[in-house]
Amino acid sequence: MAEIVALGIDVGSRSMELVALDAQAAVVDSARLPTTFHPVAQLAALLAGRTAPMVTATGYGRELVGQVVGSEVATITEITAYALGAAVSAPRARTILDIGGQDTKAIRLDAQGQVLKFEMNDRCAAGTGKFLEHMATVFQIPVEEFGVFALGGREGVRINAMCTVFAETEATSLMAQGHRPEDIAWALHASVCQRTASMLGRVGLTPPLLFAGGVARNPCMVRLVEKLTGVSPIIPEDPDTVGALGAAYHAWRRWASSAQSAS
């Protein structure tokens, strides 16, 4: 394997990802683990002894990475990391939508890939992956299959509450009224997407749109984003690792400039 010169680590609320780059900024290795309530132990497992001259961390738990790596770690916010990640995985993207475990972000970029404007959800996890995960549990369907299930639904049922607890109550009473579970599942997805679309509207959605984060794997969400915004989103091959990729690229640039000044 080529020598690793830069590591990017994204410690999210649900999962953590690692991306390793070589001297040509090519991805040579990547890994992913759930965050759990023991993120430091999980980080050690994620790293599995990997080291690099430059390490950049991002995400919710970015400050923890230094404890595990041992060497100095640069930290950047998810906003900057996603912008950098998009520059690598979808260089033409002008808007990024990221729906992760507890955060939803909408980021608008200029032609050079610099952040122009961004929006994040408030303190509550409404409209994030956590919401869909909880609802999948209510439906007793694995979260990975929830989107496919919802695609079998038809329009017509509406869920108004955005609070996870109230939305569950609403879904339960819709079931009691005899609505098809698929239609209710579709409506739950639509309520998340509605919120997402207004966030995109506030940053000034400009295509091409990159849809990243774990929720980008949900086909119903992809369909609804396209329906509500009129823009067909680009889904990266590995939507969970865009943040880690951006962090890795940040580390790689620091490596490249230090290599340059050393020579």
Partner: protein, 429 residues
């Protein structure tokens, strides 16, 4: 803090002593973390440290001593209450506690849950018997600057002697007439309370006193336009906050000395942060003591705050009362005009505020504007959207934050503010 010496006084003021001890302990720790940890602070800030450490002690003792000599204490929550009139009648004018979560559950029995943190705070402080300023007041003066306050004062009036001034919502000739009638009503009320008639001499002196305090704060503001920034935003906010509590003449003297130190620092090209530190202007709702949450998050994220476009900031200090009047009537007119220039979001359409923010951002050489809106504050919430569009059109980056006094969203705020600072840094290249 010499707490023991003040216990008898607090007891006489009917404070809930154990709860008040708890509050002071929390505040002391909070102040230590946010203020005493700063590097390269100006020497003159010791005055502020002292004033703040004695804000519930020595300053309250002073108020009690003044009351023993027959002086009256008037408490306010808003920069619309004309302090010149209070002072001209020999009374003392103080801002009341409204910047921390206190007695929230009690407050929610008097006002709806979706009321802003500032209103809940002043009601909570009173009901939980935690604010020695409110307890010292002979009169509390409210105003109609938003529906939340307007209705809250109705409930508050059952607990304190209350007077509510009507602030108009537009700035036409008939609104000025209304406001002048209110200023004259306030004058009559204060004269009745103090038994002192306001004279041309006492009013002229009061105008000079309050103008002098505004001028020294203007000077402080102008010095913050320097790069590197000579003072942290936290310290400058504290100075503005203390201006509502301390004796005006003592305050003006102390801040004037501090400005001399700042001038020397600016001349030497020194500052509290490197010259390439992103500079932010705060804009929006007031941050009452000890609401230092957002400034702390901002300055911990590697930015420096160079101005506060708020009631505890430039909205209170930008305009002076014209000093050329010689009769009481002329001076009252000058006061009426000065207060009607305040660009509070309670006015419609209040477009001058948009211009004022843009001008201030440019004057302070701010790289961006951080809009701060208290959750449930309709007037500033609306203007935040309007201001965002205007700033965008002017090419000034801005981030709008909506929050309250609780600490549960600090991590999310940090991410947002850090991302904004990273964005400003990358723009500079």
């Amino acid at each position: 803090m010499q707490h023991d010496a003040y216990r008898a006084m607090w007891e006489r003021l009917d404070l809930d002593l154990p709860a008040h001890d708890g509050l002071l302990q929390v505040l002391g720790k909070f102040y230590g973390d946010i203020y005493m940890s700063q590097q390269g602070r100006l020497q003159g800030m010791e005055y502020l440290d002292f004033v703040l450490s004695e804000v519930h002690g020595l300053r309250i003792q002073e108020l009690q001593d003044a009351k023993a000599q027959g002086r009256k204490v008037i408490g306010t929550f808003c920069v619309f209450v004309p302090e010149e009139i209070t002072l001209a009648a020999g009374a003392i004018h103080v801002g009341l506690c409204s910047g921390a979560e206190a007695g929230t559950e009690l407050a929610e029995q008097l006002v709806p849950r979706n009321t802003c943190a500032l209103i809940k705070s002043f009601i909570g402080f009173k009901l939980a018997k935690l604010c020695p300023f409110t307890q010292s007041c002979d009169l509390v003066v409210g105003e109609t600057t938003c529906d939340g306050k307007k209705k809250a004062y109705e409930a508050f009036a059952e607990h304190v002697p209350m007077l509510v001034l009507e602030v108009p919502q537009q700035k036409r000739a008939c609104d000025r007439e209304l406001w002048k009638a209110e200023v004259l009503r306030y004058k009559a009320e204060v004269e009745a309370l103090t038994g002192q008639t306001i004279t041309a001499q006492s009013l002229a002196a009061a105008i000079r006193t309050v103008n002098a305090r505004r001028r020294v704060l203007q000077r402080l503001g102008a010095l913050r336009a320097a790069s590197p920034a000579p003072i942290s935003g936290r310290d400058a906010l504290l100075i503005n906050q203390v201006s509502f509590y301390d004796d005006p003449e003592r305050f003006t003297g102390a801040i004037s000395t501090l400005c001399d130190q700042m001038e020397a620092r600016v001349a030497a090209g020194e500052g509290v942060a490197p010259a390439d530190t992103p500079r932010l202007l705060l804009s929006g709702c007031p941050m009452a003591v000890p609401n230092w949450k957002l400034p702390y998050v901002v300055e911990s994220a590697g930015a420096v705050i160079v101005g506060e476009e708020s009631c505890i900031g430039t909205r209170n200090t930008r305009d002076l009362v014209d000093e050329s009047g010689t009769t009481v009537e002329e001076m009252i007119d000058a006061i009426v005009d000065r207060y009607l220039r305040i660009d509070c979001a309670c006015f419609t359409p209040n477009s001058e505020r948009m211009d004022n923010v843009v001008d201030l951002a440019r004057a302070q050489k701010a790289d961006g504007v951080l809009q701060y809106t208290l959750l449930f504050c309709q007037p500033y919430g609306h203007e935040s959207m309007k201001l965002a569009r205007r700033l965008e059109a002017e090419g000034i980056p801005n981030l709008a934050i909506e929050t309250d006094y609780s600490m549960e969203d600090v991590e999310q705020l940090k991410t947002r503010v850090e991302a904004f600072v990273e964005m400003l840094r990358s723009r500079r290249g």
